[in-house]
């Protein structure tokens, strides 16, 4: 198949960016989207042009490295997959695709499609953990966890931290990311002791990083490669309110 790619090129945060157009000819519909970029990069390098910089690593949808808007949609048009698991068979022969980095104030561009997502790490540092030193844990089965709670905790914990929720949100809000971690730990007995300070501190850090607020568009859930549910945002809001009242 043949595809035309309009790709955002930006050498560094300081320089202005622009779209460049590349043609990809005779490509197999069985390629993944990132393999398409590999092919384009091969061609660019053979012509002496700088390859497109993009984050990627595991290429099986779990590391959360890859991050790009494809035709205005985070990770492209297929639901519930990251760009690395998106296959060209989902596109039409001859189609033009626009590829951009995540756009959010809290995710500054580093180069081309690569952005700085360290804000997510700082949010986790603010409280996204259970404080338990190595070697001080009780016997694992001494704290039973009801199966439905464990399942729901896992639904939230499945977040891969890619940032698609932020990129998809018209407010560039990180609520779904924060909600996933807050809810994962709130659903488990192990997370109870620090539940209140955790939600307060993580939300405070989220605001400090410059993410926007949630206005219930639910674009985040639609874009999430792991289909993290917006009900966790409701959980986050409840936990936050409760924690504020009893501060």
């Amino acid at each position: 198949m043949r595809l035309t790619l309009r790709v955002w090129r930006q050498k560094s945060a300081k320089e202005p960016g622009r779209f460049e157009t590349y043609e990809a000819k005779d490509i197999s519909p069985d390629l993944s989207f990132l393999e398409l970029l590999d092919v384009v990069n091969d061609g660019l390098q053979q012509r002496g042009l700088d390859p497109i910089a993009f984050d990627h690593d595991c290429r099986e949808g779990i590391c959360g490295s890859c991050a790009m808007m494809i035709n205005g949609e985070a990770h492209g048009p297929q639901p519930a997959v990251a760009a690395c698991q998106l296959y060209l068979r989902h596109f039409k022969d001859g189609e033009t695709l626009t590829i951009e980095p995540w756009r959010a104030r809290a995710f500054p561009i580093i180069r081309d499609l690569i952005v700085d997502r360290s804000a997510f790490d700082r949010i986790i540092q603010a409280g996204g953990y259970v404080s338990v030193d190595t070697g001080s844990a009780p016997e694992a089965n001494s704290v039973p966890v009801p199966k439905p709670d464990a399942e729901e905790a896992m639904d939230a914990a499945a977040c891969i931290g890619c940032g698609a929720c932020v990129a998809a949100c018209p407010n560039a809000s990180a609520m779904l990311f924060v909600a996933a971690k807050v809810s994962h730990l709130a659903k488990l007995p192990q997370g109870q002791a620090e539940r209140k300070p955790r939600v307060l501190n993580m939300v405070e850090q989220m605001d400090r990083e410059g993410f926007g607020n949630c206005t219930n568009h639910y674009e985040c859930m639609a874009a999430c490669p792991k289909s993290i549910h917006v009900k966790f945002i409701a959980q986050l809001n409840r936990d936050y309110l409760k924690a504020c009242r009893r501060r």
Binding site: L31, E35, D57, I62, H184
Partner: protein, 637 residues
């Protein structure tokens, strides 16, 4: 030279406990003046960094990814073993130890493996306390499942994302220490050399992957947790960024490299589909619990699987290994798949595939149960192949997955250079010639949470803290070497991309040093690798500069190291004139095609010492003694 692993005296079950008590601890007020560099933030690295910081050390943790949470441990699917014996099916530390020794085909160190089995239970306790959402039974207790090479249920799991959940647990523990000011994480930072002065490890040289700046970091100890080297085959189940550079650079500085030819080819991966394919995707081994593996009995049978009657199918694992059947260990299952494909009975494009069939399981347990157990894997399979595995069998084929070989370490996980510790997949010690499923996560966390923090503290007790002093001329010298190498890579200005050379090397390694190896093939590879390497240094194209984010340059450095390291793998494979575990020499097999060990000649760890460019490396041996489990022929029949 005979290497001394410094195994503590005493009966096997008492060694670790006695040794642990004898290790000197550091008072936190002293520890806070010691700086430990942890390279890599996967299960081993993140858990070590967090625990060292809890004990008061100043930790600098580095990873090449944009966040510590993305290290490749995240992709482990199936589970983590422990000898809890919750299902009451007769499991014990003894039994986990025995399974691991036997699974490794008697090429691992008894004392280390016993310690691993002993620690396994504490890992589960630790992770559960961190809030890892393990699968539960309806009564709220932890659930277990079975895995290859084992007859008890001892594998703990979190759906098909066990590695992700364990890694996030360790990452979060480390983030807590970042908040406490005791860990500093350096993301997008790659270690390019080890600094050794006066025979001791003093620090590392790194490149900031955003600015391109090359600088040295000094530390009182260096912990390498840099993973395995399966991407030497180009196509593998590993992440694209996985590489051998840190370990190989340490080898060039004097750390011995042990058993590099012990590589694991995983039996259940999605087969290769095309030239530009960039990786092979693993389908968790847990699928073999319910899936049945088969090929047609007739060569060249092109009928769709549904039209091949039961009588004309060969369930070859069940036929050859009636006792373990589809749960035969990985090396055996992979070799058996290759054998039937070599006979012309493979399925799918190019005949490089076998069926993994869930029809019986769906009939017996219902689609809903199968969906609950493996739904995410079936979804992944559909995304990649556009096929529905509920309706027709999956097609699978073996792919490079794990490196049992790695830098040599003693019982304290310290390499041959004092102050250099190596943990997780990057070391060699626990899996022998074949790793059992769900044991990598166990080993990474045992090393990181429970062993290295103690042995690093013991090493540092009584030593004078360097306090970040990088004034020794060895730092500047190592930095200059890295700068010079970077300059050389950029100066070639050839015509072929880095990936093209990587593909050439990968194909050569897969053909001649993959699932089966021969003296002729290995000799050919040893002649061919230097030719690819020369071509690389004459004709590679790396555009852009060194002082910017330059992904082609990053890859070029890694591939350049693989082009040297591949020779070491082949040399080790050629020297080991026996078959054991994943190392299968066609000259050494039993009448029915099983691996044939030569314990009289090869019951040792082969540790290679770098002797200079163009010089053959020097072989050192660590003899292996099997006191608790007598050497025997491994049988899964």
């Amino acid at each position: 030279m005979i290497l001394d692993p410094k195994i503590p005296p005493g009966p096997l079950p008492d060694k670790w406990e006695a040794h642990r008590k004898a290790l000197k601890a550091l008072d936190p007020s002293v520890a806070q003046r010691c700086r430990v560099l942890v390279v890599g933030t996967g299960l081993a690295g993140a858990s070590a960094a967090a625990t060292l910081a809890e004990r008061g050390f100043q930790v600098e943790a580095l990873c090449f990814q944009d966040s510590a949470r993305r290290a490749h441990s995240i992709a482990a699917q199936g589970g983590i073993n422990a000898a809890k014996n919750y299902p009451k099916d007769g499991d014990s530390i003894e039994r986990l130890f025995q399974d691991t020794i036997k699974g490794g085909d008697f090429r691992s160190r008894e004392a280390n493996v016993y310690r691993l089995a002993e620690i396994s239970n504490a890992i589960i306790d630790q992770c559960a306390a961190q809030g890892v959402p393990f699968a539960r039974e309806y009564d709220g207790h932890l659930a277990n499942r079975s895995f290859g090479g084992v007859k008890v249920r001892r594998t703990f799991y979190a759906r098909g994302q066990t590695g992700q959940q364990l890694l996030l647990g360790a990452y979060q523990a480390m983030m807590r220490q970042v908040k406490a000011g005791r860990v500093r994480v350096h993301p997008r930072t790659e270690m390019l050399d080890l600094v050794v002065a006066d025979g001791e490890t003093r620090g590392i040289v790194v490149r900031d992957l955003v600015t391109g700046e090359i600088h040295a970091l000094s530390g009182d100890a260096v912990v390498l947790a840099t993973g395995g080297y399966s991407t030497v085959y180009h196509l593998s189940t590993n992440a694209k960024g996985c590489n051998v550079t840190a370990a190989y650079r340490a080898y060039r500085r004097g750390a011995h490299f042990a058993n590099p030819c012990f590589t694991q080819i995983h039996p259940t991966c999605i087969p290769l589909a095309g030239r530009y394919q960039s990786k092979l995707t693993l389908m968790s081994e847990s699928l073999r619990n319910d899936g049945r593996i088969w090929v047609p009995k007739q060569k060249g049978d092109t009928r769709p699987p549904s039209q091949i009657p039961e009588a004309e199918r060969d369930y070859y694992l069940e036929r050859r290994y009636p006792s373990y059947g589809n749960l035969a260990p990985r090396d055996i299952a992979s070799r058996a798949a290759k054998a039937v494909c070599d006979e012309g009975r493979g399925v799918g494009p190019g005949g490089q595939g076998v069926y993994l069939d869930f029809a019986d399981a769906v009939r017996k347990l219902g689609r809903k149960t199968i969906q609950e157990r493996y739904g995410n894997l079936f979804d992944m399979y559909r995304e990649i192949t556009d096929e529905d595995a509920y309706a027709a069998p999956m097609r699978i084929y073996p792919a490079p997955h794990y490196a049992m070989g790695g830098l040599w370490v003693d019982y304290n996980l310290m390499g041959t250079i004092p102050g250099l510790f190596v943990i997780g997949e990057a070391n060699f010690s626990d899996h022998g010639a074949n790793r059992l499923g769900a044991s990598a996560l166990m080993q990474g966390l045992a090393d990181g949470y429970f062993i290295a923090p103690l042995t690093v503290a013991d090493y540092l007790s009584g030593r004078k803290p360097q306090r970040g002093d990088a004034a020794h001329p060895a730092f500047a010298a190592a930095r200059r070497e890295v700068e010079e190498r970077t300059r050389r890579l950029l100066a070639v200005r050839g015509k072929r991309t880095v990936d093209a050379f990587h593909r050439d090397l990968g194909k050569l390694m897969w053909d001649d040093c993959g699932m089966s190896r021969s003296a002729a093939g290995l000799t050919r590879a040893l002649a061919e690798i230097p030719r690819i390497r020369d071509a690389f240094w004459k004709d590679v194209t790396v555009l852009g500069g060194g002082e910017e984010l330059n992904q082609a340059l990053e890859r070029a450095g890694r591939v350049a190291d693989f082009l040297e390291f591949a020779e070491l793998i082949c040399r080790d494979a050629l020297h080991r004139e026996e078959s054991c575990g994943g190392h299968f020499r066609v000259e050494h097999q039993t009448a029915d095609g099983e691996a044939k060990r030569d314990d009289a000649r090869f019951c040792y760890v082969a540790a290679w010492q770098f002797a200079g460019d163009g010089q053959p490396p020097v072989l050192h041996r660590e003899p292996l003694a099997f006191d608790a489990i007598p050497l025997s022929e491994r049988s899964y029949k």
